[in-house]
């Protein structure tokens, strides 16, 4: 505050900055609200997707348990060795939600036909197929959850950042600038009042001098 030059030019500049900050604050508030709305929508979707993933996980665990029970640990281990050959392939692209870049997972077909899988049909059983299919579906669901969870995280980060900016503008930057503007206005008024008094003193002196000259 002490460094501020209490000039009219400074006041005009400050008022412009206050106007811009107020406008920015309103825009950021709108962005924050927009992001929160978007977040809530995606959150609902995420709840469904995560719920589906949990269901698929439970189903996959059941099927694995059944495969382990009927075919044995060794057979399941052997199938796991075959399924490790090629990990699931996917590419990550980007899209924007209110200026926030979020990932879009483009996956190759993870769910395969029995005849396309990396293990033979003759040495395996239906239980193994069911377990593998359940885990393929689970992988699909995990990728879907990964996409939506990253989107949510990015949105939360952006909401947090925007909130901090809104709060900084609302509770610090704008009030400080308004305070400074008030200070400058006060100083300018003070200077105006001093000038008026000075002028009045001068006028009084001049009037006295004129009276003295007239008396002489």
């Amino acid at each position: 505050m002490a460094e501020v030059q209490p000039t009219r030019m400074e006041l005009i500049k400050l008022r412009r900055r206050i106007a811009m900050a107020t406008k920015g604050h309103a825009l950021l508030k709108m962005k924050r609200d927009g992001l929160i709305m978007e977040f809530r929508q995606i959150l609902e979707e995420a709840k469904e997707v995560i719920g589906r993933m949990v269901e698929k996980y439970e189903k996959a665990q059941q099927k694995l348990a059944l495969a382990m029970a009927v075919d044995g640990t060794m057979a399941v281990k052997s199938i796991a060795l075959a399924c490790c050959r090629i990990p699931p392939e996917f590419t990550i692209k980007r899209k924007n939600i209110m200026g926030v870049p979020v990932p879009v997972v483009k996956k190759e077909a993870i769910r395969k036909k029995v005849t396309d899988r990396d293990y033979g049909v003759l040495s395996t059983s239906t239980r193994i197929d069911e377990a593998v299919a359940a885990f393929e579906e689970l992988t699909d669901a995990i990728l879907e959850v990964a996409e939506i969870e990253t989107t949510l995280r990015r949105l939360i980060d952006e909401i947090d950042r925007t909130k901090r900016r809104v709060n900084a503008l609302e509770f610090r930057v704008i009030p400080m600038m308004e305070e400074t503007a008030r200070f400058i206005t006060f100083k300018l008024e003070e200077m105006d009042r001093e000038n008026i008094i000075k002028l009045k003193h001068l006028k009084k002196k001049m009037a006295k001098r004129a009276e003295a000259e007239a008396a002489a």
Binding site: V70, A75, T126
Partner: protein, 337 residues
């Protein structure tokens, strides 16, 4: 006193009959179903499986301990049968148990292709017809050396195709070669014919399961036919081809009348449940034939199948109880004959 061909079988059948008596009786499963996991393990500690459970006790726990102990017991039982048999019986039993070698070979190839550490590959091995050292040596080799190890065997031709055909096709080809080797045996005498018929019945069952499994997955007839094993008992390749081209309802109807269609009202949506019924029908059919030919390879094969079924049943019980499956679900997966 038995003299001649039947004497060979008499000895072996007598030995397996004694071993068969040690199998868990059908009624015991009802009792086991009502037990907790720990109680089942305690029960097994009082049976033939004690030695294996104690052996693995330091390494594994829970259902894994039970699983590995059961597998070890199974392989030791099969090794014992090989040990006590001789002549033609030994040859036939060894050739039949070659299936385990193929399974282990497939596991090794899978592990090698996925760069899995040797220890982990070894965990998937069930040494039956050959000992663990043989497989350890095989695991230490690279894929080309493994293929060369089988030079001069019927499997070499298929193995040498590695890399040029998809892995699933290679695995299926290996099993086809195994069954072809067994079913092409010329049944010069009754024992051999009974053995070949036994294998052919297994081929029927495998083909039937393959057809149903692939049909349910929506595979094309060509895809199904390429996975079938020739030389079935009743399901010849022509029959299989016909079945593969049929719609689901036609297929289910067409299956009625075959030897394996016994006490089956319909093919369940969950195929695994129906597969259990087919397995039951198979075991009953073998039992019937084994009773008709008491001095042949069949009682031995029947015991070997029953032993495998017992191990599978106990494993289902163990894992089922461990995962809190309902008794009905566990029972549905068990083959109790």
């Amino acid at each position: 006193m038995l003299i001649g061909k039947n004497a060979t079988w008499a000895y072996l059948v007598a030995r397996t009959k004694v071993m068969k008596r040690k199998l868990i009786p059908k009624d015991e499963y009802r009792k086991l179903l009502n037990m907790e996991f720990n109680e089942i393990v305690r029960y097994l500690e009082e049976t033939e499986y004690k030695k294996e459970i104690d052996e693995f006790g330091y390494k594994y726990s829970g259902p894994k301990l039970m699983d590995y102990a059961l597998s070890l017991n199974l392989s030791r039982t099969y090794q014992k049968i090989i040990r006590i048999s001789f002549g033609l019986a030994k040859d036939l039993i060894t050739s039949y148990l070659k299936k385990w070698e193929i399974m282990n070979l497939v596991s090794i190839i899978r592990g090698k292709a996925a760069n899995i550490p040797p220890d982990e590959i070894e965990e998937a091995i069930v040494p039956v017809e050959r000992d663990l050292d043989y497989y350890r040596a095989l695991i230490a080799k690279d894929v080309d050396e493994i293929v060369n190890t089988y030079r001069g065997t019927p499997y070499f031709e298929t193995l040498s195709k590695m890399g040029t055909i998809p892995p699933n096709q290679l695995e299926d080809e290996l099993f086809k070669t195994y069954y072809l080797e067994l079913t092409k045996l010329k049944p010069a005498e009754l024992s051999l014919k009974l053995f070949v018929d036994f294998v052919k019945m297994e081929v029927d069952l495998r083909n039937l399961k393959t057809i149903l499994r692939l049909k349910a997955e929506g595979a094309t007839p060509d895809e199904i036919i390429s996975r079938l094993i020739p030389n079935g008992f009743e399901l010849t390749m022509d029959e299989c081809r016909k079945l593969a081209t049929m719609s689901w309802s036609e297929l289910v109807k067409a299956l009625e009348g075959y030897w394996f269609w016994k006490d089956i009202e319909k093919v369940e949506e969950e195929l695994s449940a129906t597969e259990v019924l087919f397995d039951k029908a198979w075991i009953e059919a073998i039992a019937k034939r084994a009773t008709s030919y008491p001095l042949s390879i069949l009682p031995v094969m029947h015991y070997m199948v029953l032993k495998k079924v017992e191990v599978d049943n106990l494993r289902i019980l163990g894992w089922g109880k461990w995962y809190n499956m309902s008794n009905e679900e566990i029972e549905r997966q068990m083959v109790i004959v």
